[in-house]
Symmetry: C2
Subunit: 323 residues, 2 copies
């Protein structure tokens, strides 16, 4: 009987897309070849009798966070660390002399416009060393509830790119499992991923510090160390995907910035299996930001691999939700 | 429109348990206080206007694997490693002298009746050092497709405890998210978790070896190292749960053996929040195995914490599926 209940649930789930009115997919995207290529890919992997069909269990999609799902200027997690760094600096005078702390403390948000993912994570790791994970999560939620973006004036929680939220919804309806794979702190990213992107905490894979289990007042708590950092950036992204998901993604979405998503996108490609690799190009100075790579490494990899490059300026109808 | 589709999907999902005929929960459990306590707990956390209500996003359940979801005698992953160890031993003559390799090579399955989770993982790590993760997964699937349990004569894939499969189904229908947290290799456990337990690969959290990303014949592959082992056992279980799930589980299920699940069960307890901790007692010599701890550490922790101890002999109607 329990088996039957399970089967009924699965059958109902599988038939959901058919039962609901057909919404226009990717409504916040312009009608460009980029949009069409995404729709063609999703159609191919979900067409049951087609040659490109992929079973739902293997429809794994991975997304970078900063610069892919929301802006990376300034680095939000750096702004978060900055508050704690400033409070802690009397106990850590060496930070005034050492990079990247020195730059963050002296230049603040200006430095965080350009800081690398690795440096930003170093700031987060140092600022919260010794704190419990419960404390860290509370601090992250409080920051997100109160802080506002310096240019757009909105809470960061209302700066998710609307075309990407559309894409996540479209993939979800088509049976994809969606993961964030970010150089940022997994704990910080989990504090926002549910509300902004509808992604559960355990589907966020990010950089981490070492931790230790302590008994305090009869309770087991997890405390953060300032060592044993695992950075999920560059080659660290495929390694983290292998470690936590255990499957190669058929869809990988990164952005053009310092080549840091190249390995993640290349890893998704496997001969004889459908796959789509997407690079977001920040070329919209008026509506968001415009920046590029001096060595064009991501573009070269995209050309060699047949990846899709998405222009924020030309392919997206809007950047942020209008309200 | 997309938002509406998402909401409709969520609404339909949430209403599923109401729409389906009410099956008797835990039909393969005897009508004992243990069964009743589980049902009472699940009823409390899912009763929307009750004081013990927990939102679905926080209904996190964690299960140990060996000895909780299927037998741990002999250690299946040790049997798997043994094949590869024997093939590799000419290149590693020191294994004939060093523990735990020496014991495994000399005593085989007899040693693996008693070996610890840490030693078994050491065998797996050494036997497959240098291999790609793709190779490892293929080897795991092949082993599971062919090997049979020495006492029960069945394939290991048909040795999932039926009362636990019932419990997993009951939790799933009630909106729980279920994770395996095991000292065994996450890659090996993923090869069986879908078929036997219906648990997706990324919801398996296990021990891991360090890995490295290599470019081979124009492809990125992940290769296993023989170092940087992260053992998910004892205190390593709460740390892994914190790292990969980022939430404290409200339901944790371990077994009585060497005290290795005590930290995981204690970690789930948080003042002022509902929680259930379950220990499986192997006291059924006729139908499975009977073993215990000399120091009774798990029983003492259970008494101190008010955990539920489940007797395989008295609380379970059957152990394995009859067919």
């Amino acid at each position: 009987m329990k088996r039957l209940v399970g089967c009924l649930a699965v059958a109902l789930l599988a038939s959901l897309p058919l039962m609901l009115p057909a919404a226009e997919p990717l409504a916040t995207w312009r009608d460009t070849p980029a949009k069409q290529r995404i729709i063609d890919f999703v159609t191919a992997v979900t067409t049951a009798d087609g040659s490109g069909y992929v079973t739902p269990a293997d429809r794994i999609a991975v997304f970078d966070d900063d610069g892919v799902l929301w802006p990376e200027k300034p680095r939000v997690q750096g702004m978060f660390a900055l508050q704690a760094l400033r409070a802690e600096v009397p106990d850590h005078p060496q930070w005034r002399l050492e990079m990247p702390y020195k730059a963050a403390l002296e230049l603040g948000g200006k430095y965080l416009q350009e800081a690398s993912g690795a440096d930003v994570f170093q700031l987060v790791a140092a600022a919260f060393a010794g704190r419990t994970q419960d404390d860290f999560r509370t601090a992250a939620r409080e920051f997100l509830a109160n802080a506002r973006h310096p240019r757009f004036g909105r809470p960061y929680t209302r700066l998710g790119y609307e075309p990407m939220q559309d894409l996540l919804g479209y993939l979800r309806v088509n049976g994809f499992r969606i993961f964030i794979v970010t150089a940022g702190s997994s704990e910080f990213t989990r504090a926002l991923a549910g509300d902004i992107y509808g992604i559960p905490a355990d589907d966020v894979i990010g950089s981490s510090v070492g931790t230790t289990l302590r008994e305090e007042q009869g309770q087991l708590v997890v405390r953060r160390l300032d060592q044993d950092i695992v950075l999920v950036d560059g080659p660290g992204k495929p390694l983290a995907i292998d470690r936590q998901i255990g499957k190669r993604p058929i869809l990988a979405v990164g952005r053009i910035n310092a080549g840091s998503d190249i390995d993640m996108l290349r890893y998704g490609r496997q001969p004889g299996r459908p796959g789509l690799q997407v690079l977001i190009q920040h070329d919209d100075f008026d509506r968001e930001y415009a920046y590029d790579e001096a060595d064009k490494a991501s573009n070269k990899a995209a050309n060699a691999g047949g990846w899709l490059t998405v222009s924020m300026r030309f392919d997206w109808l809007r950047i942020f939700n209008a309200d």
